[in-house]
């Protein structure tokens, strides 16, 4: 029975409590998700052979980096209700960690990738253990404080990080499994593979029993603890998992620019993550991915037309926040469901 039907049946309907319902209706099997992911990868992988535009490949690689970052932020914001203003620190740690390991040790790329994720796990576990105890605004600002701390360390530890000049000199890219990341198409394919695999894994997290635990915590953490859920542990787990995907985004970015820069760990990266989620929406799994594409298109077109990029972006954000009052995908899904409900009422 719909809310409308319940009202007409004379029941006293309690106002929804303002908590968004995240894509729980469609219970696709994981095999279907894998098929969709494979199809998406196949489409992306054919692009270099269909279009000769390097700008297009650039765009997709950047989408891969920011898409992983923004979708991982949505695991915190949309699924768990933890608004982190410091998630960008893990993007920075991924970029710097990977670039440093490759520059200083010259180990194979897969090993450097794993070591970077291990480093991210340790840092995220320590920061998370402190932050996830905090509530809402305190959590947001303490994560921001940690991000600024890491950014300051990058700036001041010049001998290791290159300070405000960033890590220059390029990243060595030894061939692995026949892939040569100094070849642009190979880099593109690997970025797409990381994006698709990352999204698939995050989708599995979101649709697993743990994903529903996160939804319960977001809806009512007190109740969740009174049905036996260790809220702190669940929050810490998702904080670390989200950090790993953000870090992977940072690794892609460091390969793309062949280095790492302090901006990757600056608070504006976290701000962009929040913007992306606002643009794309947080109640659908692919909302942040759509937001990423939107933001990067805006970025690329507006900066070409005017130097007042910030003003234009601000107006767009205001349009979504005040005009639509939700992200694009949220709006589209609501519109579609309302239309379907109207049709059902009309036919039923």
């Amino acid at each position: 029975m719909s809310e409308l039907q319940a009202q007409s049946a004379g029941e006293r309907v309690v106002e929804p409590l303002g908590v968004p319902r995240i894509e729980t209706k469609t219970q696709r099997s994981r095999y279907l998700d894998v098929l969709i992911a494979l199809a998406a990868f196949a489409v992306l992988a054919t692009l270099p052979f269909l279009f000769s535009s390097k700008a297009l490949l650039d765009f997709v690689i950047r989408c891969s980096a920011f898409g992983l970052f923004a979708t991982s932020l949505n695991l915190l914001v949309g699924y768990t209700g933890m608004i982190s203003f410091g998630h960008g620190m893990f993007f920075g740690i991924g970029a710097y960690g990977f670039a440093l390991i490759m520059q200083r040790t010259g180990v194979p790329i897969p090993l450097a990738f794993i070591c970077t994720l291990l480093l991210t796990t340790v840092v995220a576990a320590v920061i998370g253990a402190i932050c996830v105890r905090l509530k809402e605004i305190y959590f947001a600002f303490v994560t921001l404080a940690f991000q600024m701390l890491i950014h300051s360390m990058i700036l001041s530890w010049v001998s290791l990080t290159g300070g405000d000049q960033g890590l220059r000199g390029g990243i060595p890219r030894p061939v692995f499994f026949g892939l040569d990341l100094s070849n642009y198409v190979h880099l593109y394919i690997v970025s797409c593979a990381l994006l698709v695999t990352g999204l698939l894994l995050m989708r599995q997290i979101a649709q697993s029993p743990f994903g529903y635990t996160l939804r319960m915590i977001r809806d009512n953490a007190v109740r969740a603890s009174f049905i036996g859920i260790d809220v702190w542990r669940a929050k810490l787990t998702v904080f670390v998992l989200a950090a790993l995907f953000a870090s992977t985004g940072g690794i892609i970015m460091s390969l793309f620019v062949s280095g790492a820069y302090p901006e990757f760990a600056f608070w504006t990266i976290s701000g962009e993550g929040i913007f992306i989620n606002m643009l794309g929406g947080v109640t659908t799994f692919l909302g942040p991915m759509v937001g990423t594409v939107l933001l990067l298109i805006l970025n690329d077109t507006v900066t070409r037309l005017t130097e007042y990029y910030g003003i234009v972006l601000g107006i767009v954000i205001l349009f979504f926040a005040i005009g639509l009052r939700r992200g694009l995908m949220d709006f589209a899904v609501e519109w579609y469901e309302a239309r379907r409900a109207r049709r059902t009422t009309a036919t039923g």
């Binding site: 029975m1 929804p16 968004p20 029993p209 009174f226 669940a234």
Partner: protein, 252 residues
């Protein structure tokens, strides 16, 4: 058996629970009554781990649960429903039950499988059936009526198969008819499940009608315990809570 021994809790100079000692036999149904501020909800908060007692022991089948965390206490078999329904507004009734059973089966952290888990379905169905929520299984919790939200809150506690169920004002905020429907449901639940039920209630008609045992709290202390007849005739209870003997008679 749930035994409370010398349970105390103060907030500054205010004694919210003052040396409370009680025992609840297995399968008993007990009402906790008392004026506003008597410490009834604090008493529940102490038992369920929402508050840490300053002193005292909470023994469930001889295991001391005092000072433990709510998840730990829940796992030992004490379930709770709240005065204001504590539900998961964005989930459907069915999803809520499935997720709660999953939590009880310690499968809430599973990452490699998909929700819902097959092994949670039967218990979820049973809880919905017992609480009369089967017809509303696909309704999003936030859109349920107030009474159904309270039922869902109780179902959330019930689905964990508790040994002791604490209900904090199950009829709060309901109209007369709805109250009786709810309390009938609680009574039916108690009879059917054979668990220990302790409930806080302000409606004396309900209390005197269904509770074989009554505990009266006042200023954090136990004022009286006993059967409805004993409580009804207790001059201290009449003075502190029921008002006058005449009022007590009217309530009956």
């Amino acid at each position: 058996m749930l035994e409370i021994q010398q349970l105390s809790k103060s907030f500054g100079g205010v004694k919210a629970a003052d040396d409370i000692s009680l025992s609840f036999a297995d399968g008993s149904l007990t009402a906790v009554i008392g004026p506003n501020g008597a410490g009834k909800s604090t008493f529940f908060n102490l038992i369920t781990g929402a508050l840490r007692p300053d002193r005292g022991r909470i023994l469930l089948n001889r295991i001391d649960l005092a000072g433990r965390s709510p998840p730990d206490i829940v796992r030992h078999g004490i379930g709770r429903a709240f005065q204001v329904a504590h539900i998961f507004p964005s989930l459907t009734v069915h999803e809520t039950m499935l997720a709660a059973v999953g939590a009880d089966q310690r499968r809430a952290s599973l990452l490699h499988r998909r929700f819902p888990l097959a092994e949670t379905r039967e218990r979820a169905e049973h809880a919905m059936e017992v609480l009369g929520l089967v017809g509303k299984r696909d309704r999003i919790a936030a859109t349920l009526s107030h009474g159904d939200q309270k039922l869902l809150d109780i179902a959330l506690a019930m689905v964990l198969d508790p040994k002791v169920l604490l209900l904090d004002e199950p009829t709060a905020g309901m109209g007369t008819e709805e109250r009786w429907r709810m309390i009938d449901k609680v009574y039916e639940l108690w009879e059917r499940q054979k668990i220990t039920v302790v409930f806080i209630e302000h409606d004396m008609d309900i209390v005197f009608k269904i509770a074989p045992e009554i505990v009266v709290l006042c200023y954090g202390r136990i004022l009286a315990t006993g059967t409805p007849d004993a409580i009804r005739g207790n001059p201290e209870v009449i003075k502190a809570y029921l008002g006058t003997e005449q009022h007590a008679e009217t309530a009956l």
